[in-house]
Amino acid sequence: WKKEEFRNCNQTPFCKRARSRKPGSCSLVATDVSINDGDLTAKLLPKINGNSEGEEEQKEEPNKPLLLRLSVYQNGILRLKVDEDPTLDPPKKRFEVPDVIIPEFNDKKLWLQRVSTEVINGDSSPSSVVYLSDDHEAVLRHDPFEVYVCKKGGDRVLSMNSHGLFDFEQLRSRKEGDNWEESFRSHTDSRPYGPQSISFDVSFYGADFVYGIPEHATSLALKPTRGPEIEFSEPYRLFNLDVFEYIHDSPFGIYGSIPFMISHGEVHGTLGFFWLNAAEMQIDVLGSGWDAESGISLPSSQGRIDTLWMSEAGIVDAFFFVGPEPKDVVKQYASVTGTSAMPQHFATAYHQCRWNYRDEEDVENVDSKFDEFDIPYDVLWLDIEHTDGKRYFTWDKVLFPHPEEMQKKLAAKGRHMVTIVDPHIKRDESFHLHKEATNNGYYVKDASGRDYDGWCWSGSSSYLDMLNPEIRSWWAEKFSLQNYVGSTPSLYIWNDMNEPSVFNGPEVTMPRDVIHYGGVEHREVHNAYGYYFHMGTADGLLKRGDGNDRPFVLSRAFFPGSQRFGAVWTGDNSADWDHLRVSVPMILTLGLTGMSFTGADVGGFFGNPEPELLVRWYQLGAYYPFFRGHAHHDTKRREPWLFGEKNTELMRDAIRTRYMFLPYFYTLFREANTTGIPVVRPLWMEFPSDEATFSNDEAFMVGNCLLVQGIYTERAKHASVYLPRGQSWYDLRTGVAYAGGVTHKLEVQEDNIPAFQKAGTIVPRKDRYRRSSTQMANDPYTLVIALNSSQAAEGELYVDDGKSFEFEKGAYIHRRFVFSDGKLISLNLATPKSGYKVYSSECVIERIILLGLSGVKSALIEPTNERADIESGPLRLQGGRGPSVLTIRKPNVRISDDWTIKIL
């Protein structure tokens, strides 16, 4: 990491300015408050009685009124918009990010009918109060202007501008002598529209911690960046950047940006605040007592976390989510930006990548080695070197002369291939893509109006203007089997470098004064560039499959809504223990902010992991939602069989663990797809009232059943694992039960990391291993029932064809398994309607493991009235340890049927 190559807040004028403002310096008051089109609208004007001097410098020209609009949506969502008044002829329309909010959200708008105006808590000015939900109200205080959500007639929940830090730099025309240019290192930003930043404070009430706002390599619970006893820290930066060798534990911005923050507290539950804005953003988490000298005391006795949000451009389009449960907040956020796409089944299995598998022979060798060592894998990846001179959609003719044949060979074993397609297009007259893009005027333009020319892998390159829907549609066509010569239906795509990375640009990205579609400046759309590129690519795969093949596209850059287009990973991490450790909070944070399908490069991208680190990484990575091994081309080969028999065995076992749990993972992906609840979750999402979990980011939950904690140190002999209170936990290896609400000091073995199944849950598995997940489709299931203290448990299983969109038409199996009163019942959760498609499966359950039960000998299956033996058997066929567990042998009930199994 080259610190000096990136701007800090002090070198970023809008940030420096906003950060130095004193509480109370906002002089805006709300006037003309009324209901319009079902919204509460108002004008914001500086206070006339000239109370605005003091610290704030007098503006050169008086501000025009800003338009404020408060809208209310179902499930307790308040939306606040503040923008310039278009009727007052501003120099330019400010950029409002399109295409992120899903159309369905607009259908959830509640049309406000009435507003009550009252003076609250001895305020000096009135407030306008509107309905938000049955429990909550939204309030606009007029003077000083403030927006907040409170419980009906009670405590505040969320508020904005309570510290009077709101500031909105309106566009103005350049006057003589105005120098709006900004320079950083050798780059100059022409800033033709001058200062246009926005900043404000947001307060979360009853919050013990705040989380979210990825992407940063740092802890899950966000540490304060300002306040008493806090050494100088940068704010959390949201600016998509390709950072070479990023460091762990830093508020610095990396590849993606989601300006969505979640707070959680024991008393008040969970809250969320989301600012839809694609310009550079900086966010301070203010340590308690930061405002001690401001003289402002908020009308609240509860704990509170204040934050300062600063953005270089755009408008205020902000969403307040009231929770109150953690899962409610992520659902509320998902109702705005969408849930994550349902991945193809293969994509949830193990991926093998390296920069680069060099040629067809290399690919064949690696593929056959997996078979030789009986290690399952599903996808083989090709990085940039597979192309003809970094011209994407082409193949190096010497190294990959027969790409179709190569993919077909993999496909014959049920395996898939992924190739990389980056956004930089080689400026080469003989490259058809470049020629077309040039002729059609599809590239973004530099400040002088010419096609922007930057430097990336392909050398001198230009960048498509993905903001333009016409260009995205053109781009999408490039993925058809005809256009992408050498592609086959088993080929999927990886979008890298889409921050966008520009090697010779300012901070290794695109200059901010580059112009996009509709005259939008790059500064306004920067953080969404990768999002649009990802969108265009996913659309391309959708089109390729006639709308019935789920796209798989991995992206490095992301923005709110990226979850709808595919997976993301945490970029170029390093092969060290700190990066293994930080991968967990990074993935958890992404999950909280909508991105369910995420992972870190197993092994670490840069550097050579010691075998022990690599093994530990596989053991942890097996539980990442996206599980891929990847490595830089300067590193030694590190395929799982290269480190001796013992390590091969350990890595094989780790990978097989993932394959064993695939039915469970797939069920979780479906849950994320329908609700927005992430596949892997911070402990506090499952145990919101267990304070001991709030800042725990060593361990995490996979769904609501499994708790996993990595081993993050070399030669660890012990690990301290906190198991949340309320129930006991069964060790996944041994079946031994551990008490909840206790930090256990566990002995650590080399063959596994601490992992437990929560009592009261049922987990579906497939215990037979195959070459790839494809061959597992017909294999029988194992159910692991972990009984709680009342001898009950429940769980779910979701199955579909793993590939198409038929599931959206009802072609799936969704069962709920409930164990109570000594019997296991399979219930249908699917809601068949007439005309819906059916997904049928012959799959049976071959084994049911009962944890927490003893002394039973057989089981009776209804309605067939057959008997099944109960024997003792291993908890796991491979790598299991400890005492045997009760196993119902061969019940052979079909997963698609209703049945009951009585324990006798």
Partner: protein, 590 residues
């Protein structure tokens, strides 16, 4: 479908499964006959499910009549993919696997037969080579013994000649002094002039020497200039940011040019003129203060890219600068005898500089010296020169040259009369010449002794079957690279005029089935290069399949008769016999 109780069980194990209660092989438990292949895993080791996919550790046996039997992982049973040529692994009816054993068997048998034929011939060649090696070694040993005794004698003669020479010189000196005295006055002024001349030449010589000495510390010089450079950049930058922005890029270009100029100057101090290329600057920048300001847009792009790619930027520029290198080669060849080596040396010291490690630099210097010894071309050539040179010495059949010398020495020692004054000029010259000749011969013998001892020190395998590899190099051309493997010496990759050391000989590995070359040129961002050469039986020594599976870790295959082992041949023949046995009689010799 075969019956359940034999499914997936190899014939030799059939007995094991005969009883009513069967033990899991790992001893963990027992299972009933009904549990054999009942598609439920009872034994964790898979004993009870040889014919299904129920146990992850199981093995499935397919008979493959007409071909060779196969033992599969259970994970392959009924997975929809035909693994056994007889199709027996897919019996659940989901896929149809045609029986291809006869065809496949035929092909396999043909292949095997061919392999056996190769082995047969190879074994014979190997035998010859082993014999030749033994002969060669004993010959060398004999030669070495003889050379050593010759050396002893010759040493004595040389000493005698030297003594005599020195005596003569003493007398001559005396005579000269006397003569000088006579002529002193007469020639005083002239002599003075002579003296001065001589002085000045000496001084010049010393200066030159100092210059050469400087070569040992290139990094210091570069360091200094680098620091200056950066200062300059900084200064430039400051000037720019306060001044007019528009002129900035021009200033930057100008500055880049300045850097280049400085580089050239620095380098010219190393006699490696015109070896400047943009990547050099880029590399310096990366590893120095990493000051990216003042670079052109393209340079900046390349610089940032090179962080990820390491050598890529180097390679890119390499292509661009190929022409330049041609020139370099042309010009330096006239000055230096081994331009490639020198060029590489420069590169390596660049690398060294980058890591800024003084200790490593010393290592590198050592390696340079080794280079001189190990360079294949050089040593090969010099060896062969020695060979020809020695032909007169080593043709043992002819009456010994040593006798001749001894005779000559005796003669002249008697002939020269030290007390005769003045000394007979021709006699003195004769002695000097004889002394020179004899010591030349002595040093030749000594060098021959050293090269022979070196040769005999090597590990040529249990039967010396690799003896013929000494003094040989094997080449393979792949695209623009020529790979050159010289066993017991080193391996290299040659691209045009530049040579990269892939490794120096280390040893045989893997019971003489692999040759290991290690400690090659360091990779820019990776390990030292290394090469493993896997050996296979073949009739000719042929290098194939050079590959770089991991960055800077190369592998290659060398087929050689040295690997055509008799035991292996027997093994193959046995395998063929088995295959023929499996073959249904009716199909025989169709």
């Amino acid at each position: 479908t075969p019956p359940r109780d034999s499914l997936g069980i190899p014939p030799e194990d059939a007995k094991y499964f005969k009883s009513d209660f069967i033990k899991c092989r790992d001893g963990s438990k027992k299972f009933t006959k009904a549990q054999l292949n009942d598609d439920f895993c009872d034994c964790p080791d898979g004993t009870d499910e040889p014919g299904t996919s129920a146990c992850s550790r199981g093995k499935f046996y397919c008979r493959n009549t007409g071909h060779v039997p196969l033992s599969l992982f259970s994970s392959r049973v009924n997975d929809g993919i035909c693994d056994c040529c007889d199709g027996s692994d897919e019996y659940d009816g989901k896929v149809k696997c045609p029986n291809t054993c006869w065809e496949a068997g035929k092909v396999a048998r043909a292949k095997l037969k061919k392999k056996i034929a190769t082995y047969k011939e190879g074994v014979a060649i190997r035998k010859q080579e082993v014999e030749q090696a033994k002969e060669g070694i004993s010959k060398s040993e004999a030669e070495l013994t003889k050379l050593k005794s010759d050396e002893k004698i010759l040493k004595g003669l040389v000493q005698q000649l030297k003594d005599r020479k020195e005596q003569i010189e003493k007398v001559e000196e005396k005579e000269r002094l006397e003569k000088e005295k006579e002529e002193k006055k007469k020639k005083e002024s002239e002599e003075k002039a002579d003296e001065q001349d001589k002085d000045s030449t000496e001084r010049q010589h010393e200066e030159n020497h100092e210059k050469i000495g400087n070569l040992d510390e290139p990094s210091l010089e570069q360091d200094a200039s680098q620091v200056n450079d950066n200062d300059a950049v900084e200064a430039d930058q400051n000037g720019d940011s306060s001044g007019n922005e528009a002129s900035h890029s021009q200033g930057a270009d100008q500055h880049a040019a300045d850097i280049k100029k400085t580089m050239v100057e620095t380098e010219s101090g190393h006699d490696v003129e015109s070896n400047t290329s943009p990547d050099k600057i880029v590399k310096q920048e990366i590893d120095g203060s990493d000051n990216t300001e003042g670079l052109s847009r393209e340079e900046l792009g390349r610089l940032v890219a090179s962080r990820w790619t390491g050598e890529n930027s180097e390679e890119q520029t390499k292509e661009v600068n190929d022409a330049k290198k041609e020139e370099l080669k042309g010009s330096s060849e006239t000055q230096e005898t081994e331009p490639d080596e020198d060029y590489d040396g420069y590169n390596s010291s660049e690398d060294n500089y980058k890591y800024g490690d003084a200790a490593e630099e010393e290592d590198m210097d050592d390696e340079f010296e080794e280079d001189d010894h190990h360079d294949s071309d050089a040593s090969y050539k010099s060896d062969s020169e020695d060979q020809t040179d020695f032909s007169d010495l080593t043709t043992t059949s002819s009456p010994s040259w040593l006798d001749k010398i001894q005779q000559t020495v005796r003669n002249i020692l008697q002939a020269v009369n030290l007390f005769q004054s003045p000394i007979d000029k021709s006699e003195a010259a004769h002695i000097r010449k004889e002394y020179d000749d004899a010591s030349t011969k002595l040093s030749k013998i000594q060098s021959r002794i050293s090269s022979l001892s070196q040769k005999l020190e090597n590990d040529y395998g249990p039967e010396k079957e690799f003896y013929s590899f000494y003094d040989r190099c094997f080449e393979n051309k792949q695209n623009k690279y020529v790979y050159k493997v010289c066993p017991f010496k080193q391996a290299s990759q040659v691209e045009g005029h530049s040579t990269t050391q892939l490794g120096r000989w280390e040893k045989f590995e893997d019971s003489y089935r692999t040759m290991l070359f290690s400690n090659g040129d360091r990779c820019w961002n990776g390990p030292d290069r290394s090469l493993k050469v896997r050996l296979r039986c073949g009739l000719d020594n042929e290098l194939t399949d050079v590959d770089e599976p991991s960055r800077c870790e190369y592998v290659a295959i060398l087929s050689t008769p040295a690997l055509c082992l008799e035991e292996k041949l027997k093994e193959l023949q046995h395998k063929l016999d088995l295959m023929n046995m499996e073959q249904p009689q009716s199909h025989d010799e169709l």
